[in-house]
């Protein structure tokens, strides 16, 4: 992490969860517009910090994840409005048009679809790697991913999440998490692993302020700021039998499955264990 240099330009990839089945949108669907506005403002602020700064926004809908900015297919015609720098207008416009495209073209929501955030993060990592490779030699690039989501933790994407987190750690990509609604235990681990910042927004209306305050500064200079203290991350393992977090459990010596109770036969790999033998002096006592 100490390789991060505050003087280097930075690439920020925002992964925005737009899945209509996340609880926060179910309650107030109009919030998405607000969130979108905040994000485009935030993205532009990031670009404003340094001329070389780069930005990418990925939308994660219930059926697919797609780049909202920079858009791949068509180039938008942008002219100056209200004296705003054209670049910023382009960013805002392409984010909104692309997301509108995605939403209107999306198939109907079948049931409670999970947001495929892990896949979205993997996309972001690929993009980051590509950009890094295309950098001229000698130029460093600080890279980070900001996840903005109101979904719940998903046990099914656990493995993908972990792969993403450790890849990010290896690639020195910082993952920041901005939780809009639920406490995200799994993503907290990602923050902790990659050295990012985790924030559960107390009031969604003030989102832009939180974003600007906490996530705008580069990780390299965050240590100099008074930011919310890191949350204590729960790294307890989940037992394979009930998927509950346990402090101390039993581990199969063959397949490393974790159980909260002792069972004489491992249910994952069918290994039969020896019954623990009581201590010798004990045995004597019983016999006499």
């Amino acid at each position: 992490m100490n390789e991060l240099n505050a003087d280097d330009p930075s690439l920020l990839v925002i992964a925005l969860d737009t899945n209509p089945s996340q609880s926060i949108l179910k309650r107030k669907p109009n919030l998405l517009t607000n969130i979108l506005n905040s994000i485009s403002a935030f993205g532009n602020s990031h670009l404003m910090q340094k001329p070389q700064n780069k930005l990418a926004v990925i939308g994660c809908h219930h059926h697919t994840s797609k780049f909202l900015y920079p858009s791949t297919d068509k180039s938008l015609e942008v002219r100056q409005i209200d004296g705003q720098y054209e670049y910023f207008t382009l960013v805002e416009k392409s984010i909104k048009t692309n997301l509108a495209d995605m939403i209107t073209n999306a198939p109907k929501v079948a049931s409670n679809n999970e947001s495929m955030l892990a896949g979205c993060l993997a996309m972001a990592l690929c993009y980051i790697t590509r950009i890094k490779k295309s950098q001229p030699p000698g130029c460093n690039l600080n890279t980070r991913i900001l996840v903005i989501t109101g979904s719940e933790d998903s046990a099914h994407q656990y493995m993908t999440y972990m792969n993403v987190f450790f890849t990010a750690q290896k690639e020195k990509v910082v993952i920041d998490i901005c939780a809009l609604d639920n406490t995200l235990v799994l993503l907290q681990q990602g923050c902790d692993i990659t050295g990012g910042q985790y924030l559960k927004v107390p009031q969604i209306e003030g989102l832009l302020e939180y974003l600007l305050w906490i996530f705008l500064p580069d990780p390299a200079i965050r240590s100099k700021l008074a930011l919310p203290p890191p949350v204590k991350v729960d790294y307890r393992a989940a037992c394979f039998c009930h998927r509950e977090l346990i402090d101390i459990g039993f581990v199969c010596s063959v397949c490393l499955s974790i159980f909260c109770k002792f069972s004489p036969i491992c249910t994952t790999c069918s290994t039969v264990f020896k019954v623990p033998v009581p201590l010798k002096p004990k045995k004597k006592k019983i016999k006499t």
Binding site: R27, P29, K108, E152, I214, T267, S270
Partner: protein, 809 residues
């Protein structure tokens, strides 16, 4: 005791602790015996005595003080009635004798003390411990060294293993001394000669050949230093001398060594090549090599040869040592040389090889080589710490492939805890259906093309609120100061806490190592360690805690809370173990939770095992049995009698195991739910008596065996009545023997009664809790026929079917 030892000196009229008596100086001790009494008031072994002091001249009292190593001292007052002169004379006598005797003992002590001192200075950690524990008198020094004696031994062991190597400069250290004329004088010591022999084995050989017979010792060495062999590294004219042969000898051994590849069958020295990166890197060497190949620069060649030879010698000695020596500082020299030579070695090898004529190896040699290779491979792939059962089996290794039945288990994370979900669900407002959300999003999306006034993105009050949350002390910044706690603790406190932990952990380690208390020694040790811990707690932890409370008021308790917890835990454990000792061990399972868990797991496993055995050993069709759904120690069973006087009866019974199963004295109790007139069934308790077949119960008896016996006994009443003495129901036996028809009548009644009770489950709890329970509907609704049909179709599934229908709950 003093009578056994030789008294060297007895001085009467001495006072010690205001008692008059006699001072005795024995061979190994100094003792004071009170007058007219046999008691020995003071007795000090010379081992304990550190020194003696005398009162200064001119003082009225003539005294001699003996200071002991542990800091105590004894003072003897000489009160000879003859006056001060005599008193001084007495004291002088004692003093001189003690002075003479003390050194004999001192040396022993000193060497030991020195050793300990050395150990302490070498280990700052140990020194700290010593300071904390011994000097503050929590432990005595003996106890301390007893505990750490092992470390002492280890240290000793390590130091003894070193072997002195040959210094790289051993020859240049022999300073030639000019003798005034045109010559030099070399002073050779035995050590230097030893070194020369080590470095030049050929010279040693020559020395053995020549010295006593042909040359004198000094002549030999003079020749050696004059010889070409010694000087061949430098360019000198070839003198004819006895050492010419040595060069040849060296060459031949070198050749031999290369052929044997240093004893490593996988090493091929001939293959070593020299690859320079490009011209310019090591170019001088490579150029030389190229030009030399024609036989050019003899100087370089010979120096290379010397290097090679030297590296071979170093490698050889290393191999010899490798077995015993782990890591020696004295080897530094060797290693340095090795490094130095290593680079040259590989480079030059090729050329030397060219000179060697290949001798085709014989078959025996080949076989031996094979063996060596095998050994080497085994050496490399075998690890001591990984059991070797797989390797030594010559059979094909039958490793069970890992068979993961449920791979997906690895891929899932923890399920989000339900509590948070519900709590959030409680205060949710109103949720739109996914369709509605989708629709609204689509509608919103239409408006996104328009520009948004900046004021709409965030309104000022919300921004200020957010700022409040994020400022120190705000909602999100709580505990911001907490993680800086370490900054508040001054360094000296930190150090002290460190030391406290060091000592506490050491003591606790000793304490916990006593458990479980299996031997009286361990118990004694536990008691001692407990006392020590208490002393430590009182003299170290408590004062520190008080000081911390005073000086760092908010943190005082936090600093030592963990240590206190550790110590408290040990006290609790000690008290508990003490209680267990005083109480007779009537509840063995309570002595330790681990054992309890162990036993329980064992019992449960045994029950599973019994069940499995039962399934495989016991034929279906007559007895069905299942552990009760509530407690596995009680099993519910039902028996369909197929023959004998009770034919067609359906009897339900329960089988009880003791909690210590399979370690129980008597066989598991089998109790029938309904009354039954049978010789082995008690008429009052309905208990089935199997003591005839199972007088005792052991681990080797199984439940299916007792069930087999049950079946046999119910179906063969005849056997019970004739073969078994002291039946549980003697009346039934008598009845059977005297009036068989009457018995059969009663049994028929029992059968009808049993069938009735099986179908009629009244409100009786005992009956309702039974796992087997029959519903009349089975017969009435024709289910029974269906089952029979199914049974005919597939004989396998009949068991399952009956079970699934019979099982309730």
């Amino acid at each position: 005791m003093s009578k056994i030892e030789d008294v060297l000196l007895a001085v009467p009229e001495v006072k010690h602790k205001k008692n008059d008596g006699t001072l005795y100086i024995m061979k190994e001790r100094i003792a004071f015996i009170v007058e007219n009494r046999e008691t020995c008031l003071a007795s000090h072994s010379f081992y304990d005595i550190k020194m003696q002091k005398i009162s200064p001249e001119g003082k009225p009292k003539i005294q001699l003080q003996v200071v002991l190593h542990d800091g105590n001292s004894s003072t003897f007052h000489f009160v000879n009635r003859k006056g001060q002169q005599q008193q001084i004379a007495d004291r002088e006598k004692v003093k001189d004798l003690v002075q003479k005797l003390l050194p004999n003992f001192k040396r022993k002590i000193d060497s030991e003390l020195e050793e300990k001192n050395r150990v302490l200075t070498e280990n700052p950690k140990l020194l700290q411990l010593y300071k904390d524990l011994v000097i503050s008198q929590i432990l005595t020094s003996e106890e301390f060294w007893k505990i750490h004696g092992k470390d002492l031994q280890n240290l000793k062991g390590n130091t003894n293993k070193q072997e002195i190597g040959v210094s790289g400069a051993f020859l240049s250290e022999i300073k030639p001394v000019t003798d005034g004329c045109n010559g030099f004088k070399y002073n050779l010591t035995g050590e230097i000669i030893e070194c020369i022999f080590k470095a030049y084995p050929a010279v040693k050989k020559k020395h053995m050949e020549c010295v006593p017979l042909k040359l004198s010792e000094s002549e030999f060495w003079t020749r050696f230093f004059q010889s070409h062999y010694f000087h061949r590294d430098r360019i000198t004219a070839g003198l004819k001398d006895i050492f010419v042969e040595c060069g040849k000898m060296d060459d031949s051994t070198l050749r031999k060594e290369i052929r044997s590849n240093l004893g490593d069958p996988f090493l091929d020295l001939g293959k070593f090549g020299d690859n320079t990166i490009e011209e310019g890197f090591c170019s001088s060497n490579t150029n030389d090599q190229k030009t030399d190949s024609g036989g050019g620069n003899i100087v370089h060649q010979s120096i290379i040869k010397r290097f090679n030879q030297h590296s071979f010698m170093v490698l050889k000695t290393c191999q010899e040592k490798a077995v015993e020596v782990i890591n020696d500082d004295s080897n530094k020299n060797d290693e340095k040389e090795k490094k130095l030579n290593g680079s040259s070695e590989s480079k030059k090898k090729r050329k030397t090889i060219e000179v060697i004529e290949e001798v085709p190896p014989t078959i025996e040699e080949l076989a031996e080589q094979q063996l060596k290779k095998k050994q080497k491979i085994v050496e490399k792939i075998q690890y001591d710490d990984l059991g070797n059962d797989e390797v030594d089996s010559s059979l094909p290794v039958s490793s069970n492939a890992l068979n993961l039945e449920r791979l997906e288990r690895y891929l899932y994370g923890p399920t989000p805890s339900s509590s948070t979900v519900t709590s959030e669900r409680v205060n949710k407002v109103q949720e739109y259906s996914p369709d509605a959300v989708d629709h609204m999003l689509r509608n919103n999306a239409k408006d996104w093309g328009q520009r948004v006034p900046h004021t709409q993105i965030i309104n000022p009050t919300q921004a200020v609120n957010a700022l409040g949350d994020l400022s120190p002390g705000g909602l999100l910044m709580r505990g911001y100061q907490d993680h800086n706690l370490s900054q508040f603790v001054p360094i000296d406190f930190e150090k002290e806490v460190n030391n406290l932990y060091l000592s506490a952990c050491e003591l606790l380690k000793e304490f916990w190592s006593c458990f479980p208390l299996t031997t009286p020694e361990l118990e004694a040790k536990a008691v001692k360690m407990h006392d020590t811990l208490q002393r430590f707690n009182m003299s170290k932890v408590k004062p520190f805690e008080d000081r911390a409370m005073r000086e760092l008021s908010p943190l005082g308790t936090q600093l030592v809370s963990h240590i206190n917890l550790l110590i408290e835990t040990s006290f609790i454990k000690f008290n508990k173990s003490k209680k267990n000792q005083t109480m007779p061990t009537d509840v063995p399972s309570e002595t330790s939770f681990d054992d309890f868990l162990c036993n329980q797991a064992k019992t449960e496993y045994r029950i599973l095992f019994e069940m499995k055995l039962l399934m495989s050993e016991f034929p279906s069709g007559s007895i069905y049995i299942l552990p009760n759904k509530n407690h596995s120690l009680s099993w519910d069973g039902v028996m369909f009698v197929r023959s004998g006087p009770f034919k067609n009866g359906i009897f339900r019974f329960t089988l009880h195991l003791e909690s210590t199963f399979p370690n129980q004295k008597f066989h598991p109790t089998i109790k029938f739910i309904d009354s039954m007139t049978h010789p082995l069934v008690s008429p009052d308790t309905f208990l089935f008596d199997a003591s005839h077949a199972f007088p005792t119960w052991s681990e080797n008896d199984h439940i299916y065996e007792i069930l087999k016996f049950l079946k046999y006994a119910i179906e063969n009443v005849d056997y019970c009545c004739t073969q078994i003495q002291n039946c549980a129901n003697q009346k039934a036996v008598d009845l059977y023997n005297s009036d068989k028809s009457k018995f059969l009548e009663i049994s028929r009644e029992t059968i009808t009664q049993s069938i009735k009770s099986v179908f009629n489950s009244d409100n009786d709890d005992d009956r309702n809790n039974h796992a087997f329970w029959f519903d009349k509907r089975i017969i009435e609704d024709g289910l029974h026929d269906q089952i029979i049909e199914n049974m005919k179709n597939s004989s396998d599934s009949c068991e399952n079917l009956t079970f699934s229908l019979d099982r309730r709950g």
